[in-house]
């Protein structure tokens, strides 16, 4: 057993874990954050995507012990105070989800994209999300959802200071 301390969605967690425990299982089973899904055994599907120190990672392919001392954001950390983040709102507005199973990973990957590229083209969105598989939507509306979020975030940011931007991306930006 190994002792780890991980910051997840802003809260510190210290736990004894087996060295072989996957980060995805740690989040799901230990912390009961079940929004992070598992869709494959081979790092292909991206359903398990979380932000680790601001970068999108596939949490099925990282051990919990590797997250020691790091900051993790899961889908549950996107909305703040009951308020949906633009990316979440975009998925709803543009019908970017059907069964919802790929959605947390998609939204997390898209969050990371918008952080480094606030105004991505369709091409850039499709490339950034190509590590995340969706079986329901055919991706058309996922692309639209990300565009919706990009626009909404720009509109929010434009008239005011950058400090009013959405907290989740702000956290990623400071890293």
């Amino acid at each position: 057993m190994a002792r780890i301390t991980v910051t997840v969605n802003g809260a510190d967690h210290t736990d004894e874990v087996e060295p072989r425990l996957l980060l995805a299982h740690y989040l799901r089973d230990k912390l009961r954050l079940t929004g992070t899904h598992i869709g494959c055994d081979t790092t292909n599907c991206g359903a398990c995507t979380v932000l680790c120190d601001g970068l999108p990672v596939k949490s099925c392919t990282m051990f919990a012990v590797q997250a020691d001392g790091r900051e993790i954001i899961t889908v549950e950390g996107l909305a703040t105070g009951g308020q949906l983040q633009p990316i979440q709102q975009g998925f709803k507005e543009e019908h970017g989800l059907q069964c919802g199973f790929c959605t947390p990973g998609m939204m997390v990957a898209a969050t990371a994209l918008l952080e480094r590229n606030p105004d991505p083209s369709e091409e850039e969105i499709r490339w950034a999300l190509s590590g995340n598989v969706c079986r329901c939507t055919g991706y058309v509306n996922i692309v639209k959802a990300v565009r919706w979020a990009a626009q909404a975030m720009q509109e929010q940011a434009a008239p005011e200071e950058p400090a009013t931007r959405q907290p989740a991306t702000e956290q990623a930006a400071t890293r």
């Binding site: 009961r32 899904h37 979440q88 709803k92 199973f101």
Partner: protein, 784 residues
Amino acid sequence: MTTTMPGPEIHGLGHSMKRKEDDRFVRGRGTYIEDVVLPRMLHMALLRSPLAHARIASIDPSAAAELPGVVAVVTGADLAAHNLAWMPTLSGDTQAVLATDKVRFQGQEVAAVVAEDPYVARDALELIEVDYEELPAVVDPHAALRPAAPVIRDDKEGQDTNLAYTWEAGDKAAADAAFAQADVVVSLDTHYPRCHPSPMETCGCVADVNAATGKATIYMTSQAPHAHRTLFAMVAGLPEQNIQIKTVDIGGGFGNKVPIYPGYVVATAASLLLDRPVKWIEDRTENLISTGFARDYHMHGELALNRDGRMLGLRVSMVSDQGAFFADAQPSKCRAGLFHIVTGSYDLTAAHVTGRGAYTNKAPGGVAYRCSFRVTEASFLIERLVQNAAYELGIDPAELRRLNFIRPEQFPYQSATGFLYDSGNYPAALQKALDAVGYDELRREQAEGRAQGKLMGIGIASFTEVVGAGPHKDYDIAGIKMFDSAELRVHPTGKAILKIGVQTQGQGHETTFAQIVANELRIPAEDVLVQYGDTDNTPYGLGTYASRSTPTAGAATAVVSRKLLDKGRKIAAHVLECSPDDLEWQSGRFVVKGTPEQAVTIQDVAFAAYTNHPDDLEAGLEGVTYYDPPNMTYPFGTYVVVVDVDPETGVWTVRRAVAVDDCGVRINPMIVEGQLHGGLAEGYGIAAMQLITFDEQGNCIGSNFMDYLLPTSWETPRFETYAMETPSPHHPLGAKGVGESATVGSPAAYVNAVIDALTHLGVRNIDMPVTSAKVWQAIQQASP
């Protein structure tokens, strides 16, 4: 009495209301099967056969049982003691739950470990010792049907070959006569390869059999919870009233979650024996190698035509590869599903179709993967044949279709194989698609490009689907007729709860079905809660697959709403002290004819139903309807795909993908369009990359997402969708099913496009998946 118009938006038919279910999903707060955790819950893992065909000499579970944390190891022998080693399939065959005599495919369930921890359960699998005596594997269905082939199903009395079934439709004599008169016969041999639906969530369950209460609560990934409850009762011998199936949220189904899998049965048996909840979640490899595959049809088609392009007759024979158990999830009379829809959109008055199913050493399944029972294979075959016939006759493929379409005035149309098409306008759909893509201009570009060695192709598919099973006289699952149901209660405050027998897996039932109620009763869709997936709390229904929810339960919802409205009229008359005949229903209000200020809203009526109902009427505003559709519905459309092929590498890329779909009246156009996008992407995946295949020993190739390729956002085409609305004449809302149209129709469009790019080189067929390697090879062979 309030007489104001209802304030909030109603969101009835034709409104692209945002989905009610999305708020929990975008927060990561859905509850999928793996999220279900019960007190004292154990974890189960399954040991699977590494071999495709072998006799089991012995199984020694003792080392596994001794591993700390392991609670039990279950083998076939343990199940046999309870008469549970075998179970019936949905096609009337039997399937091993845990193997006792032989293993018959790689990945077959051999033993189960139940442990306190899922990692420990997996560790223990390695400690189970199984002694296999390997037998020759039969992987080719044609070879399987030869007399000398080793018999796979020696467990079945009287089964001395590998023939699973034979089947026939249409009129042989009529077809032969048509062929005798033909100027031209075009034939095509093609294999619609084995693929797998692969919803993003794999299958699994949490079985909780409580010895104290006798109640078995089974949380499971089920597209058909009520049917599964009945089957559990029959298989396990548990009293049906004590079985409760709960589905929670399902992460995609596409047919994969229709069958009952051994894992569900073993977990339930383990929970029964151990008196603790048992969770079983398969991993992706288990999902791919053992659960319901799709297609795997080897088809031979022949189309007879006049020189001027008039189609005279169709003959089709096929061999289906069923794997080790005939477990197609389909109506029991339909050995080859609805494959006889193979005459497609054409006025083909003579047709004959035969089929044989072969047992092989492969996983069982044959599920309707986003398809209404083998309709996809049929649609693919006819649309490929028509394209090749056009080349043979030197007629433009669009023109040949137009020449032979069933004309709008011919509906209802009786097909040569026994279907009664309800409605359609095929020429209009074709024209709309051709206009959208700019067909004539593309043909000009193609001709010019060919002179410069450019390879560009235009592929058309004008499909007709048959969905919405179904009329009880023709369709049943394991004897249960394929009606569906809706139960509606409007509460005193005017808010409603609708309970349905079908099961969403992402289709958005919580929204669409609320909109149907809203449309009928003018209660805002926001005020209608839709419930499903808990067999104790919903009316009996057959579930969601084969695009049947809207045709059956959607109709039931409209009908039950109308029943309530009839009762509401009597209550309104009582409140307004007039005769029901004096009332007019005006968008949400009963109004006294001629005195518009005298009116009650539907909310007023609901309140009165509980507070002031007439003496001669029961209290409440509640009803249930079991809807048995009079016919299937026949959605249709035309897809046009444009591809550019690199002559040096064979790589093909989709330049345009235009889809015109007519699924009758659209309840929520946004949701319909989303369904079409998904189907178009899956159709692309099947045409381009999704392949489950096997080596000579029966090892599954395509057992994980590195080998079984799924389209990502990068390669998936950017679809352009267009709508038409030809209502179904027999559906209460004029709606047809739609969830599968695009998976059914689009593979032929993609393949036709690639072939069209190469047709001047003499290429007439490339079997799916159309990989760049195959295309390159075809180019090489064509131009030495």
